[in-house]
């Protein structure tokens, strides 16, 4: 506890010198610095928190709103790290937060960690993208988990692009994910792995 407190004091001095945060008003800056340093003290990345504060400043958000956003992000980063691993990289944590906010559960993140070798950034980002595109969170999670053990990052990206193309053509997001998953050999809605998921998703097939 003493060490943590000491770290906190030391880190406050470091963060307070970050010139980028001078764009915040003094009251907001002090809150943000406190959150950033607290996060850093427990090993969470500080840069995403600073960036969130700067985003709020650029968008003209009120100080309390900025502080709340930074606090919320710090909490989400902690949740993502708990679900993933203490050794998770900052990009993975950011992608994990995106997936959580999209609707994936912490359990899904943990299962993904167990199913795939790091880095998990791409898999988490694709999961978040699928849900943000309208694919139901449970369906998107099932697909990504099924592809995770052996699919390359490029395969996941190609899968996401294929679903986005379908959606832009008017296909319902869930149907597109189901069909695309079926085209890769995944039995949609089950945990069956793809027959050969290292192959990129096939182009549109006949029904």
């Amino acid at each position: 506890m003493m060490l943590a407190a000491l770290l906190l004091v030391v880190q406050v001095g470091v963060a307070a010198q970050d010139p980028r945060l001078e764009r915040l008003d003094p009251e907001t800056r002090s809150v943000v610095v406190w959150v950033v340093d607290s996060a850093r003290a427990v090993g969470l990345p500080s840069e995403p928190l600073i960036q969130r504060a700067l985003e709020g400043a650029t968008k003209g958000a009120a100080g309390p709103r900025i502080a709340a956003a930074v606090r919320r992000l710090a909490t989400d980063l902690g949740t993502a790290r708990t679900a993933l691993s203490q050794r998770t990289s900052a990009p993975e944590l950011e992608a994990g937060v995106a997936a959580l906010r999209a609707g994936a559960s912490p359990e899904v993140l943990t299962r993904l960690r167990d199913a795939r070798r790091p880095p998990l950034t791409m898999a988490l980002a694709v999961l978040a993208d699928l849900v943000a595109s309208g694919v139901p969170a449970d369906s998107a999670s099932a697909v990504v988990l099924a592809m995770a053990p052996t699919a390359r990052d490029a395969d996941l990206v190609e899968f996401r692009k294929a679903v986005e193309r379908d959606i832009s053509l008017g296909a319902p997001p869930g149907a597109s994910a189901a069909v695309r998953a079926a085209n890769t050999g995944i039995r949609f809605g089950t945990s069956d792995a793809a027959q050969n998921p290292s192959q990129p998703p096939r182009p549109p097939s006949r029904p």
Partner: protein, 389 residues
């Protein structure tokens, strides 16, 4: 009488019994169908149906099954049942209580089912009418049931050899919501019955948008047989689980086709029940926002140390700025491309991973560009998220 009814069913003839009229039917045909996301495919279908009508018009029950086989060898099975009971509420006013059930399976990959209860109030005379309806129920894809609610209003006009319909409905299936504005017509020209539908899906969140239309011609061949030629495009039906597609079909109908004022549906239209769902079990959903005016393209460098080229396509813009976590959220003005007057470019150093970006053109509001995943930011606005692999 029961034996007679069964014989009638086998022969495709309507059988009147003391307890009502039973009308069997059998549609068989071939089609070329292009579902969204699939290649064009040939298909053959067989669809038996049966309908029972109350002798005094107080209600009906109909059931239909469809076996559809595609040229790939995949097959689709679909079964549905619909029943309605009518009651006189007042002069010219009628109430209707209905129940619809259905289930389908596509290639043993996807299963779908639904159950809907609806209530309608009709106001009608001999040549025109209108109705107001509300429906509730559940639609399930696999183990994920989702609530269904629909409100609809419609009207019809009847002439000697023609009928015209128009309706507007708003449907909610889980967190998917959409509206359909539809009009349709039936026209009798000699012995040929022509039917057409024109509609538009609007105000849609998760169920697609666009204009659709179908047309069919039914030509009696004698006896209880008719030739039906149909074609067109239809929208996704989120409740019953068919995805949007276009088709051209020809088939035969054995048995009475039925008449009266009802929604015309081409008989030989093949619709494999490829289930879909656009609502999460937890109700979560990314926001679907209107398309941005600018589209972002990201061109990573050859190595992770190389700067990344961002190109914004913004037709007609005089000034284009971006702001993102790779600029510390400082607005940066892009320069117009030397080769494309609608493209604006900039080189930025950024790390691999997820990035957030906003775009502003001509000093307007900050928006999320197309080409990114649009998300709600924490400040009552939107932000574009993209992944640098």
């Amino acid at each position: 009488m029961r034996v007679l009814a069964l014989i009638g069913l086998a022969c495709g003839a309507a059988v009147a019994t003391a307890s009502g009229q039973i009308t069997p039917g059998l549609d068989a045909g071939i089609a070329a169908v292009k579902y969204d996301g699939f290649l064009l495919s040939g298909a053959a279908s067989v669809a038996p149906s049966v309908r029972w009508d109350h002798p005094r018009g107080k209600g009906f029950v109909s059931a239909r099954g469809t076996y559809l086989r595609f040229e790939s060898g995949n097959r689709s099975l679909d079964a549905s049942m619909r029943g309605s009971w009518f009651a006189a509420l007042a002069p010219r006013w009628r109430g209707e209580l209905g129940l619809g059930l259905g289930a389908s399976d596509y290639a043993s990959i996807a299963h779908f089912s639904h159950g809907i209860v609806d209530a309608r109030v009709h106001l009608m005379d001999q040549v025109r009418g209108g109705w107001l309806a509300t429906s509730f129920g559940q639609s399930s894809f696999g183990a994920g049931p989702r609530p269904v609610a629909v409100v609809a209003i419609g009207g019809w006009l009847l002439r000697a050899d023609a009928a015209v319909f128009a309706s507007f409905d708003r449907s909610f299936v889980g967190d998917t919501a959409y509206s359909d504005l539809r009009s349709s017509a039936r026209l009798q020209r000699g012995v040929v019955l022509l039917e057409g539908t024109l509609g538009a899906r609007i105000l849609s969140d998760g169920a697609g948008r666009g204009v659709y239309g179908e047309a069919s011609a039914t030509v009696p061949l004698g006896g209880n047989t008719a030739l039906i030629v149909a074609g067109g495009r239809y929208p996704t039906d989120v409740i019953t689980g068919s995805i949007a597609g276009s088709y051209l079909s020809a088939g035969f109908r054995l048995g009475a086709s039925g008449g009266g004022i009802r929604k015309p549906l081409p008989a030989a239209r093949p619709r494999p029940a490829i289930p879909h769902s656009s609502s999460g079990a937890d109700g979560s959903r990314g926001p679907l926002l209107p398309p941005a005016e600018a589209r972002l393209e990201v061109a990573p460098g050859r190595s992770t140390d190389d700067p990344v080229k961002l190109t914004l396509y913004a037709a007609g813009a005089r000034v284009v700025e971006i702001s993102g976590d790779f600029t510390d959220w400082k607005p940066m003005e892009l320069r117009r491309s030397l080769t494309n007057g609608e493209a604006w470019e900039g080189m930025f150093r950024m790390t691999r991973g997820i990035h957030r970006i906003n775009v502003r053109r001509d000093g307007g509001p900050w928006t999320a560009p197309a080409g990114t995943t649009r998300s709600a930011d924490d400040f009552d606005g939107e932000v574009g998220v993209f992944l640098l692999p």
